[in-house]
Every structure is written in structure tokens, then in C-alpha cells.
């Protein structure tokens, strides 16, 4: 990681807790629905008129709904190392909020390591870097190699 200063790749989407980072969502005060990315203006529940939201941290763990990888360099605005390094992406059902959140899977794991129903946790990991900074994003990391089957 070197001595570069670490910055979030986007402001306000996740905490920077080095040990237990979490995605930052909002929850409607009227109907208690969660929103990620954060909704702060008007509740998207069609039966709710809520305009007030609390900031909440989402579950840091969940189960894999599905997964894939990317074998080719995406177009901008993705900022790729040169040469391009393939990565896996997982769609993860959060433990408490009944929602699925996408994220890259940490380096070192590819699709052969993943299964639907697998337990994963949220970590922060570099997305890209420039001369002075390393930009962090949330990624999913398998908790263990045991699978629980496609039960979600």
C-alpha cells in the first residue's frame, strides 16, 4: 500500500472504519425503508410521503445472490491499472435489510471461489490510485469457503 494517502473513491457512501467499515444508507423516518445509495429528499415507497431520513450503517455481512467477473477492461470512467487486472463482482443479499448490493470481490478471489448462498463481509480496498493518493471502495470478501447452497 506504500505511503500514499487513502481517500474514499466517493464521499459519503461508506464509513472509513479500518476494521469494520460499513455502507452508509438512509432510512425513512416515516416507513423505515432503507435506501442505498442514500435517499435524502423524498421516500421512494409509493405509499409514503416521508421527507426525513436518518443515516444508518448497513449490515456488513450477507450471502451471495449471484456473481460474475470482468475479463475485459471496461470503458471510462472506470480507471484501470495498466495492464488491466480482471476482477469478480458479487451481488450480495444483506443480512438485515432485505436488499441486494453489488460490489467488486477483493483481489485473490475469482468466480471459482464463489457460490450462491456463500457468506461474505464488507471490506475497504483500493479501487485505483494516482501519484499521491489511493482511492478506496467497498468490496465483498468471502468469510470462509464453506457454502450453504442457493437458498436466497
Amino acid at each position: 500500500m506504500g505511503t500514499k494517502t487513502q481517500l474514499p473513491a466517493i464521499e459519503g457512501w461508506f464509513t472509513l472504519d479500518p476494521d469494520e467499515p460499513a455502507l452508509l444508507a438512509t432510512r425513512c423516518r416515516a416507513c423505515a425503508t432503507y435506501f442505498f445509495p442514500r435517499e435524502t429528499y423524498f421516500c421512494k415507497n409509493p405509499d409514503c410521503l416521508g421527507r426525513e431520513f436518518d443515516e444508518v450503517e448497513l449490515s456488513r455481512t450477507g450471502t451471495v445472490w449471484s456473481f460474475t467477473n470482468n475479463c475485459f477492461e471496461p470503458p471510462p470512467p472506470y480507471i484501470s491499472p495498466d495492464p488491466f487486472v480482471p476482477y469478480a463482482i458479487a451481488a450480495v443479499q444483506l443480512d438485515s435489510e432485505k436488499m441486494v448490493v453489488l460490489g467488486q470481490v477483493v483481489p485473490g478471489f475469482d468466480v471459482s471461489d464463489l457460490r450462491a448462498g456463500q457468506r461474505v463481509e464488507l471490506v475497504l480496498d483500493p479501487l485505483y490510485e494516482d501519484d499521491e493518493h489511493e482511492y478506496l471502495v467497498w468490496k465483498w470478501k468471502p468469510i470462509d469457503t464453506e457454502t450453504t447452497g442457493a437458498d436466497q
Binding site: 473513491a9 466517493i10 457512501w13 416507513c31 423505515a32 425503508t33 432503507y34 435506501f35 442505498f36 445509495p37 421512494k44 415507497n45 409509493p46 405509499d47 445472490w65 449471484s66 456473481f67 460474475t68 467477473n69 470482468n70 475479463c71 475485459f72 471496461p74 470503458p75 471510462p76 470512467p77 472506470y78 480507471i79 484501470s80 476482477y87 463482482i89 451481488a91 438485515s96 435489510e97 432485505k98 436488499m99 441486494v100 448490493v101 453489488l102 460490489g103 467488486q104 468466480v111 457460490r115 450462491a116 448462498g117 479501487l127 471502495v137 442457493a150
Partner: protein, 397 residues
Amino acid sequence: MTAEHEVAVLGVGMHPWGKWGRNFVEYGIDASQAALADAGLSWNDIGFVAGADTIRNGYPGFIAGATMSQALGWKGNRMASCYAACASGAQALNIARSQILAGFCDVALVVGADTTPKGFFAPVGGDRQDDPDWLRFRLLGATNPTYFALYARRRMELYGATQEDFALVKAKNSRHGLTNPNARYHKEFTVDDVMASQIVADPLHLLDICATSDGGAAVILSSMDYARKQTATPIRVAAISTMTPTFPQTVIEMPNFSTDSAATVAPPEFAFRDAIAQGAYEEAGLGPDDLDLAEVYDLSSALELDWYENIGLCKEGEAERLIRDGDTQIGGRIPGNPSGGLACFGEAIPAQAIAQVCELTWHLRGQAGDRQVEGAKVGLSINQGLFGHGSSIIVTT
């Protein structure tokens, strides 16, 4: 649907799909003129133009209704332009239908055309941190095939689908499109060919994923009264279902980072893609058993299997059996994508949903040549565009 809500398809026309590199307006002109000739009408008979927009061809693309009207010759017609991503063509058809049913015009031209860049579709340029479509590329590196691959892998994990099943879809479509004059690709691919192509987004191979193409398609819609003066057997539009998802949407959709949360509101009875078809069936007063053919939006070969279930050709988890048994090939129980689908066309976004209706119309008239689905009387098309644009159209004899 009651007869008073029907309109007629009087003419259809296409400019062949390809990578021609010409101005999209030229494809639109050729498709429009082909549709007019097919209807036996002239440009001066058209009272309303609905243009499906392209967002990658500058200002003329954003105002397709005006652009096409000017290209065909200003004559003071009413018009509209609309954008709904891959469902743009269906929305343009719906706008034209509404104008006809409201009595504002007798005959309308619906046209969509596109010129596409090479490679992955990329978001519109600039530094746009408030646009989920921009952000998913920046923060996730999630391309369109990423989402198609998540659905495909889900089928493998849940239903035991295999990559060979997906390849069977591609092989079937490549046979269907072999002699379609409007298709871009006229090459038969085997399962082995697909399996030997590079993995783009696991489990999908390059040959599982549709290309981006240039092309143009046009439909002439009219009132039923007007149509009966032109032909004894007009093709009828029985349904155009253009709808949004219902909250909470619990299936991850391009270009989103997450699903809605179902923590406080239960998911709807029908998931989005099921609801799109359900809406069309309800509007038409028909059901899956009434279909003779379907054009489904095979952005990936695996997605075609999802659509089989969404439109009710089989129960969830049974689509692999349909493709393995040959049920959806021409001559089978319910042919899917007799045109060859996106597998043979590649995607020309604003033209694609219109092209689906062109194909259905040729089959219902018995004019589909050696890919003809014999005796076709009812056809359904279905399609989904980025950001919650569903569309499904049912046409009948």
C-alpha cells in the same frame, strides 16, 4: 382488449442491421420509405411521426421525431420524440397509438434508427457523480454484460443451467437468422463455437452476448377504420405494455448498485419482467397458450431463457428444458426469436423494439420466407430498457 382500443399495423420496413458507419438518419429514411411502400402509402398520408431517440448521435438523435420529419421533408405534421433506452421503440409505438385512438390522426409513422460505437456501451461522458449509470462504471467496473452474467450465473446456481444451455440458444438463433435479409450476422454457430469463444463476463462467452449495431426500423400504424379501406386483413396491435417496476423492486437491475429494500414493504406479486408480460396479456385478453411466436430481448443468450419464463412459456426453472427439447426453434411448439434475435442482429437501441414488431407482422402475414412460423396468428415481443423501462407488444391477425 376491446376492438375500440385496437390500431392496425399497415406497413413495416427496416434498413438492414450492420456496422455501416453512416448517419443514423439515412437508416431511418430507408426504413420509413420501406414501411410506407409496404403500406401502399406516401409520406403525405402521414399525420403524426413518433421518433425513438438515439442518445449517441448528438442533438439530432435527441429529437428523432423532428429529425426524421425534416429528413423526409417538412410538411407540418404533428410529432413526438421519446427516449426509453432499449424500450424507446415501444414507447414511440404507444405514443402513436394514443394519438390514433384519441382521434388526432388516422395514420402515424413510428421510426427508430441508430449508429453505434464499437465495443462495450459506455455511459455518456463527463464527470457525473450523480448519475448511477456513470457511477457503476467508475466504482464497480460493472459493464452491461456484468448484469447479464449475474442473471446467467443465478440460473446455473438455482436451476442447474449450464453454459452449454446458453450456447444452445445462440446456436438456435444463428440458424433462425441465417437467411434473414435484415440480420447483420449470417453465420451458423455451434455449441462448440460458443464454448470456444472468450469469456467476457463469467459464465458468458463473447458469442453469448449481443453486439451493438447500426440499423433502422419503421412501422406505419393506423386506425382500424382507415386500415379496412386499405386491406381486408389488417394486422392488429392488441397490446402495448410500457410500464415501470413496482416498489420494492427486488431483482438487481442495470445500472443500479442495489435493489430496493423489502424490509418494510412486501415485494409485488409479479417481479418486473413477469409484470411486463402480464400487463400485455391483460390488455390483449390473451395468455401464453395463445402465442404462436415470440420475439424476446436476448441481450445475452441466457437472458432469452429468463424471458421464456417471464412470458409464461414454462414455469420458473424450466426454460433449459425448452431449449434442450427444441421447443423454441422454428417448427417447435413455440418459436422464440425466429428473426435470429439480437444474436443475429446486434442491438440498435431505438430501432430494436420496432424491429420486433416488423418481424411479428411478417409472420402474421405469412411473409417471413423460409423462417416463417406456419399459421402464426398471435405474436408477442418483449423488451426491457435501462432505468425501469419495460415493454411488451402483442399483435394478432
